[in-house]
């Protein structure tokens, strides 16, 4: 056993050659993302995402079928209501294919918002008991929702096969639009999740926000319904570029234009960067206020 260092050693052993692994001091102001630290915790990120996926369908009779069922039922209702009765235009595609492609894109976006938004509250026990980059918690939702997206994309493939819609070369741009969806949704949910720690109001507002947002986005209707001169302003809603972008790459055509995509992408970047800085600023207080 080593002798207890009862008397304070004020000299610095090891001199300047030994640098501390961690320095703990009060931080103030804004700090950037610590990507290197996040990278060392990448295993945790994916294990958390895996946990979300496993938990979602544990002890359910239908299991992963729910991922298929939900958008299918929604697409059928939209097809009957908007396609048959209201006769909304679908840019020349069969309405069900049109609406399902929109739902697939939108559902991913909404799922990330919903899961990530509440994630810090759900995992509050972790936050108060262990240190790890808190960013891993909402980010895990971004990844776990990808599995649902993959499943519903393959359902879309089947529907397209049934309706004989053949994708064009534009399909290769699909990952870009999914990436845009991931960045935008993550950016928004960084704000939502961090605010939710302090103001639980956001937990109540979230379903409402998501619902309103969906009707403000071209899921059940086409962007062509919006007068042309308003479209650039319309695309300030980043979900427009996501939904119509996915549609464009999968079905081969939609009313989306490059300036619209660029506006949405720029906005997404602003929201994401702002969200990341905001999250970093308030995460210091999470353990004390969650």
């Amino acid at each position: 056993m080593t002798a207890p260092a009862a008397t304070a050693h004020r000299d610095r052993p090891g001199g300047a050659t030994r640098r501390p692994t961690v320095v703990i001091e009060p931080a103030s102001g804004w700090s950037a993302l610590n990507l290197r630290e996040l990278w060392t915790y990448r295993d945790l990120l994916f294990i958390l995402a895996g946990r979300d996926i496993k938990l979602r369908y544990k002890q359910t009779g239908l299991g992963i079928t729910w991922v298929v069922l939900q958008p299918l039922v929604a697409a059928m209702i939209f097809t009957i209501m908007f396609g048959r009765f209201a006769k909304l235009p679908s840019d020349g595609h069969p309405y069900i294919v049109f609406v399902f492609s929109g739902i697939v894109a939108w559902n991913y976006f909404a799922a990330v918002l919903q899961r990530a938004g509440n994630s810090l509250i759900t995992d509050s026990k972790l936050i108060t008991k262990v240190y790890f980059p808190r960013l891993a918690i909402p980010l895990a939702s971004t990844f776990s929702a990808m599995i649902d997206l993959a499943v519903s994309l393959s359902v879309l493939g089947v529907i397209m096969l049934v309706y004989r819609v053949v994708p064009t070369w534009r399909l290769v741009t699909l990952p870009l639009f999914i990436g845009l969806a991931a960045v935008t949704a993550t950016g928004v949910s960084l704000w939502l999740s961090a605010l939710n720690v302090r103001y639980r109001d956001f937990a109540h507002a979230m379903p409402f926000i998501i619902q309103v947002w969906m009707f403000a986005s071209p899921v059940a209707y086409a962007t062509t319904l919006v007068p042309e001169r308003w479209r650039l302003i319309y695309s300030l809603n980043p979900a427009v570029a996501i939904v119509e972008g996915v549609r464009w790459s999968v079905l081969g055509s939609s009313a989306i234009t490059l300036p619209m995509v660029l506006i949405s992408a720029a906005l997404a970047l602003v929201v994401f960067t702002g969200g990341a800085f905001f999250f970093r600023r308030v995460e210091r207080g999470f353990a004390d206020s969650v």
Partner: protein
Amino acid sequence: MTDVAINVEGIAKSYRIARALGRQPYRTLQEEVIALPKNLWKRALSRADTMETFWALDDVSFEVRTGEVVGIIGRNGAGKSTLLKLLSRITQPTRGRAEIYGRIGALLEVGTGFHPELTGRENIFLSGAILGMRKTEIARQFDAIVSFAEVEQFIDTPIKRYSSGMYTRLAFAVAAHLEPEILLVDEVLAVGDASFQKKCLGKMEDVAGEGRTVFFVSHNTQAVRQLCSRGILLEHGRVVADGPVDGTMAVYNQRLRDMRVDAETGVNNPENRRGSGAVRFTGVSVEDMEGNERYSFEMGDSVRFRLAMTVNTPMRGLAVVVALRSGLSREMVTSARHVITTDAVPAGVSTTVVVDFPDVYIRPGEYPLYLQATEAIQSATNYDVLDDLTPPLVITGGSSRPHDNFDPAQPYGLFSLPSRITAEQPASPEAAEAPAGNRMRPHIMR
């Protein structure tokens, strides 16, 4: 000369707490918006806020060298857990600075991140990753973890089907296979049964033996004494003693003794003092049969508790409970309930009762006291509870027999009940032929 593992300089942490019956700690947006003009106004007038600042830690400095095993002791609310949360980076300090040299592993609870719906296997990976292990590391240690936890058969069963013992073993096994250079441990030992506690203590001794730094927070003085070479005593967020563990412990016990229990002691500390306050203890002393106040007794001594109390609101009768906890597991070792009166007691009555425990044959160790004043009828309501608020009852061995000395690694038990040999089978053929007079006589042993 060994290297520094932890260097803490003037660290402090304040919390803003709502003043008595004030606002809830988290506010709603509406509240905030409505309060905004008022708050701005207040700030402009630099008037006191409705929140007050509470310093959980105040200017704490110390240095820990690699390989040291340091125990942080102190009462509830002294700042022990806050210190651990700061060092493990869960929260940030308000002032000061700490430097950590080496990979840190913090065990602030057993089963961090465990999810009941997931299987044992999934939880090992989940909990391991949360505690800071890489996936490959967990995979490498997987078999060792499973066999340490003794759950091989159930590894693919959701842990909600585990017994609580299996759950705790698995949780500890994951934590035990974390290989940090600096290990921070909070009251982990406060859960589980005595044998689990021993397993934990044993594992921590191993860790300490490997030359790693251990930082152990507990109000389990017995475990601290067993494990640590150095003790740091915290009181109201400040370091009041730092040095060899025995010295620090002596300071701690002296401070406990100096603190007289009265009607107000610890009332703001619901972990130690609970109850409606319909009756309050106004004085507690532990004495020998001659009436001298003592805290340390030899095994077999008689112990007297003198309890003074005042009734504040009318009660249906009055009863007291005197109980001893285990210094290791905090389980109740024994308790005695005595009804003083079954008649209604009006407010304002003060009384003193004396409870004697003759011939206490409890094995040496430290036994925190649990005292309760209540109505004569058994009910779920607490009236006044003093839980580990007074110094623990210390039983010393004073004996050369190993069973009578404290050793957490040995399951000797808590009590020394009288036992004796009353019949004897011949131990060998010669013994069988020996004349009856030469036989060992039955004798009584304690």
